[in-house]
Every structure is written in C-alpha cells, then in structure tokens.
Amino acid sequence: MRRIVLFIAAAAFAFGGAHAFTLTVATTADAVSLTTHATNDQPSARVMKQIYDTLIVQTEELELEPGLAESWTQIDELTWEFNIRPGVVFHNGDPLTAADVAFTLNSLRNPEIAAPGAFILGFVEDVVVVDDLTVRVLTSAPFAPILAHLSHTATSVLNERVVTEAGEDYGTEVVVGTGPFRFVSWEIASQIVLERNPDWWGGEVLPERVVFRPIVEPSVRAIEVEAGAVDIAYGLELSPRDAMRARANPDLTMAETPTLSTTYVGFNAQKAPFDDVRVRQAINHAVDVEPMIDAILEGFGTAARGPISDMVFGANLDLEPYEYDPELARELLAEAGYPDGFSAMVWTNENPIRIQIAEIMQAQLAEVGINVDVQVLEWSTYLADTAAGAHDMFILGWVSVTGDADYGLYALFHSTQFGTAGNRTFWSHPRVDELLDLGRTEADPQVREAYYFEAQEIIAEEAPWVFLYLLLEVNALQNNVTGFVPHPAGHHRLYNVNKN
C-alpha cells in the first residue's frame, strides 16, 4: 500500500511539474462568510474572488472585460441584455445557466435576505431569464455605471440549486462557484484552503492550492513573510514601520498599488462656523498633508487633490490640491468673522493612524488660532453619531469600490444621501446634485466625465472636506513569487501567480 502511495506521489511530482505548489497568503482577517448573501467585507471578498466569477471582470487597470457574460447589449434606456458564456460549469459539475445569474442578482436584492452588498444593485428593477444563456437586467432609471457594478465581488454568481439546498449552511460549510479555485476547507480563524479548478473557463490556473491565513497583527504578518512562513503578506501599510522594513529586505519583493480609497476630514457643513465656505477653505489651507504622509504613513500615500482617487473613472486630474498657507488661512478666517479663531472638536475612531492625523491637525490648526479638541470614539458609536450630524469634524475614508466616479461621489455629496447613506457632512449644492444625477444616467463616457469633472471642481472649491490622502496598499512577496498584480480594490486575483 505504502509503495503505491509513494508511486502516486512520485508520479504526481513528475507530471505535475513546476506547477504543483501551494501558495500561502497572510491576509488581514478571517473571512466572515463565503456567500455574498451574508457579507460584503474585504477579507471575505479576497477569498470569494478566487472561488466565484462575476458577469463582468474588472482588471487591475480597472478596465471592464467580459467575465461570465460573454457579451452584452443595451436594448433601451432601462434594459440591458447579457449573453452568458456557454459551457461554464460550477465546481460541483452543474452547468451555469441564465437562471443562476437571475437568482444571484435577484436574491442579492431580496429584502428578506438583507444582503450587505444589496446597495451595489440598488438601481436594478428586475432580472429576467430570456433563455438558457441570456438574461435581461431592467433598471429603475437609466444607470450608466452598470457594468462596473456587475464586476463587484458582491455580484459573484451563485449556484441556485446548491444555495437553496444548503440553506443556512451555505457560505460556511458549503461553497460552490465557477471560479479558478474551489473551496476545500475552512478552519475558523486559522486557515481557508482552496484548490485549483482544472476546468476553469478563464484558462490555466497555476497554484495547485491556495491557503489564506488570517494574521490580524500587521507586524506579525510582516514577520511571517520575512521568516518565509508565507508567500505573500497583504496589507502591510496598516503598520508603515513594518512595511518599511519589508521594503528594505532583499529576500522580498514589494507589490504596491494606489487604492481606490480617499481619507478625509469631513465638516458638519450645517453647523457654524463650518457652514461658512471661507472657514472650510481656511482649514484646508491651514492643514499641511505632506508631514502627515511622511511621519505617519512613512510615505505610503499621496496627497489627495480632490474627493476621489486618481485611478477612479471620472477623476479630475486637473484639480490643484489646496496649498499649505497659514497666512491665507488666517485672512479667510478673519473675513468669515473669526479673526481670533474658534474652538471645535475633531472626532476619530480607534484607528491609530487616524488618531495621529488628528493630533498633527490639532497642532497645525492651533497656529491659525483654531483650538481643536481630539476625541476618539468607539466605531459603532462613531458611525451612528456622525450619521446623526452630532459632530464638528470627523476623519473617515471612502473606497470607490466599483472604480467609477458615481460610487465615489453620489453617496458622499448628493443631497438625498445625508447621514447613514454616506453624506455625513450634510453639505449639498444644487448644481452638484444635478451633475451627479446626469452622470448616473448619461451613456456616453466622455460626457459623463465632463459632468464629473465639473462636480469635482465645485466640491474642491466648496471644500466640504479637508482632502487628506490616497492610501497605498503594500503587499510583500517572497522573491520566488511571480505574476502577482495587486488590484486597486484590494481583492487580488491569484490564479496567475507562480512560485519558482
């Protein structure tokens, strides 16, 4: 018996060749669940990205390409038709049909399921099956960024039969997709093991196995990769010192990418003195972002010129960042009727980087006479109180997950989005409302861009935020790992990664 096993192992080694390797990834936290019905968090999305496919694929350059949908046509303003790639099979052998796609998109929107990612499909009126390999998506209003939304991991295509049969066990015990890797096992808080799907429609899958290990402490993640215990460590920017050390290590290769996330200080634009645009501009001039990036982020970030990351479709790259000019800030404050400054509060949650930013801001604003008190709030209280408008100023980030300006602007600056929906500054502008509505419905990308450019100019001028910085994501790889290209949205594809 032992001989047979040895023989099989030797044969596997001989024929499997260089590709029979396991890729071990240190990720920032354990997945919550592996179904889009239950969660929309980043650590889960990072695993789901390997197991599932979406109708549209968003590349690392944020280009939109055919995924499970081979082609699509817009039939009228409110109707899109998608042709499903023929011959795709789920990991359990079931063929992928239009019914699975309709089930996926309709169940995600089903209020009874209350999926955390339902808002991604907020524009959808209904999804109907035309034939075995064709579905139609009906929207409630014209919705231009539809393809970007259908590339989001929250819309990962599920197998209707399996999801229905597994019931509440789907996503933790039973997980079936069409993606490059299939689910093998999940040791809670310890590791998730996936193995190659040899029948993947997208081409050859290089790693034989992928193991995700949740390692919550960024310093320990860095040590894991430095000690050679893992092949890739994600998210080292969360501890910039460790990221610096990893960068200096000759045994490691860094894979850094700008993210779709903007960090900002939001004002309460309906509360004095922040209801005065001059005060908001003065604070933008009084805050110097560069020392924050150097001292706190160790350089792993770039100053934001406006509200959205440079990589997002529709980002206005002609915006000039606010110049650091305390003199001008004092003048603006005097004009607004605050020659001696005022006292205010800045809130942050228990994020060490944000706390340090608040402290530097405190020192910088003191120079123009604004006396700032820093308060650290527990996360859920923080979200609830900023949504209720109880704040003066708060520090928060926003990730334009779909890579489209609609996602990065609408929820944050439209007057219908006050509070929980995203606009926690309670700032609004009729022209910006109009432009954001137009951008959402206009089909021509160039015209859309023009709308978004104008909206961003007004937002930058009106300054409902202090535009702080765009964070870099820092991943470290062993030198023998090749082919890893980080995705700006953070869920990196691993099928093409090789280990020599």
């Binding site: 808002f119 590791q191 320990v220 609830a384």
Partner: protein, 309 residues
C-alpha cells in the same frame, strides 16, 4: 462532599442567568447598531430596516432576551449575526485552542513557578532570591503584546527556530504562545510560593523536624512544601481561570483561533448571540475551575473536609 459539589452546581444556574441578563443589558444599552456595522457606512435606510427585522432587532429588548433564553435552555444558542454559523459551531471550533493554550501555560507556570518560589524561600535575601524576585516582577510588569512580539522576532525571525504564528499542527506552534501567556502566571505563582514557603519554614513543626536531624531536602519538600502549597493551589486555580478568558492579546498576536478573540470580535460587531454564547462558556469554565480548586483545597487540607459534609 458530593452534596456540596451538587449544591455548587445548582448554584451555577442563577449565576449563569444573572450573567446573561447583565451581558444582554450592557449590549443593549451601549450605542451602536449591528445592522449598520454589517451593512457598512453607506447602507440605505430601507436595507437597514430589512436587516433589523430579519435579525429580530426591531423587537423590544425583553422580547429579544426572552426568545433567546427560550432557545438557550434547549441548548440552541442561535446563529451568529455576523457569519450566519450556529453559535455552538463558532464556539466549538475555538474552545479547544483556548483550553490547550490555557492548560499548557498553567502547567508551564507550575513547573517553573513552584521550584523558583521554593528556591527563593530557602535562600532568602541571597542573590538567587533577588534574581528570582526581579524576574517575577519583570514577568508581571511586561506587557503581553510587547513580550509576544519580541519572542516572535527573536525565535521566528532572527533564529528561525519556530513559526511566527498560527496553530497549524505540530508542537512548534505551541511554544511561543504558551510562554507568552504563562509568564505572568509564573510570576504570580513564584511570588506566592516564596511567601507561603517562608512562612511555613518558620513553623514549629519544621523546627522540630530540623532538630530531629532530618535532611534539609526532606524538610523542605516533604514537610514544608505540602503545607505551603495550599494557598498556592488557589492562586493556580485563579490564574487558570484568568488564562481561559483573558488570552485575547496572546491570541491576537499569535493568530491563535481561540475564544477570547471570538468574544472581542463579536462585541465589536454587536453579534449578540455569539457574545452571549461566549460569555456563558467563560462563566461555566470559571465556575468549574473555582469548584475544582475548592475541592482540591479540601483534599489537600483535611481540616477543611468537615466543613463541606
């Protein structure tokens, strides 16, 4: 004795009930909404309400508690709000990791702490005693996260002898977390052993033993230590209870899939069913360890036995 144990077990019921009421009350009164935490900062109102309804959060507090309790007495602790897994599965997946680590850390603490304490007590105010005292205070004062990271740096990165973190099978994964978790217990046990040994060694019967010309080794280990250990057992029991529920930092640093981290993560996510389940487990473990300590105490000190009958 059996009657006593039985009484203690019955007493556990009101204690557990009280614990669940307090935990529920705290969870209910602290601000924050699990629905917002799950759906994120940008969830539309209608979706928040749908989720609250699905989770039963739209019910009054006493109804929510009543429903939970009704199921809990049938050992159905519900499903985690966060992951959708049964709470019993969440806990049973992690309890072994916590128990292993607490047990190993306690054994380490006894194996190092008791001999060190004896060594100190038998050579009071010598260099050995001072060194042990300094080491013990150092162990108590050292922050766990710092010690853990230093150990990882040294043994995983610089020397490359042990894996940095995780619990992936193999004894190597146990060494650093056990030392990190056990350090403060070593210190506590060393100090306690030293103090009680010093007291015991000045007792009349020890002097009698010495005057009879018994060898020192026999005096220390056969006569004095047995008696000195009685209060030490209490400390060990208390330490073990603490290690069971207080290993959050060690678990986080070493990516150890234990129940402490589960409890903290669930509190953050306001995952009420999981928090209740975890706290119940802590309460039961604490109570059982206390009971066991008391019984052991009676066994070690026959004078106490009469009180329990």
């Amino acid at each position: 004795m059996l009657k006593y144990i039985f009484r203690r077990i019955i007493l556990l019921i009101p204690i557990l009930l009280g614990v669940t009421v307090i935990v529920f009350g705290i969870m209910f009164m602290t601000p924050g909404d699990p629905a917002i935490l799950m759906l994120g900062e940008n969830a539309p109102q209608a979706e928040l309400e749908a989720l609250r309804e699905r989770l039963g959060l739209d019910q009054p507090a006493y109804v929510q508690y009543g429903l939970w309790l009704g199921r809990a007495v049938q050992l159905d602790f519900g499903r985690s709000i966060r992951s959708g897994r049964p709470v019993t599965r969440e806990i049973s997946a992690r309890l072994p990791a916590t128990l292993e680590l607490a047990l190993l850390a306690t054994l380490l603490a006894i194996a190092v702490g008791v001999p060190l304490g004896v060594l100190s007590a038998t050579r009071p105010n010598t260099a050995v005693d001072h060194a042990a005292t300094v080491a013990a205070f150092g162990g108590l004062a050292m922050p766990v996260f710092w010690q853990g990271l230093i150990l990882i740096l040294l043994f995983a990165l610089v020397l490359g002898w042990l894996p940095p973190s995780g619990r992936l099978g193999g004894w190597q994964y146990y060494v650093l977390p056990t030392i990190t978790l056990g350090t403060s217990a070593i210190a506590a046990i060393t100090r306690m052993t030293r103090a009680t040994m010093l007291e015991t060694l000045s007792q009349d019967y020890v002097r009698t033993a010495r005057s009879k010309g018994l060898p020192e080794r026999s005096i220390v280990y056969r006569h004095a230590l047995r008696n000195a250990l009685i209060p030490v057992v209490t400390v060990i029991g208390l330490q073990f209870g603490q290690l069971l529920s207080g290993a959050v930092i060690t678990e986080t640093i070493f990516s150890w899939p234990g129940i402490g981290r589960l409890a903290v993560d669930s509190i953050r996510a306001k995952d009420f069913p999981t928090v209740q389940g975890a706290v119940m487990v802590f309460a039961v473990m604490y109570a059982v360890v206390n009971l066991f300590t008391d019984v052991l105490y009676a066994y070690l000190d026959p004078r106490l036995k009469t009180r329990y009958s």
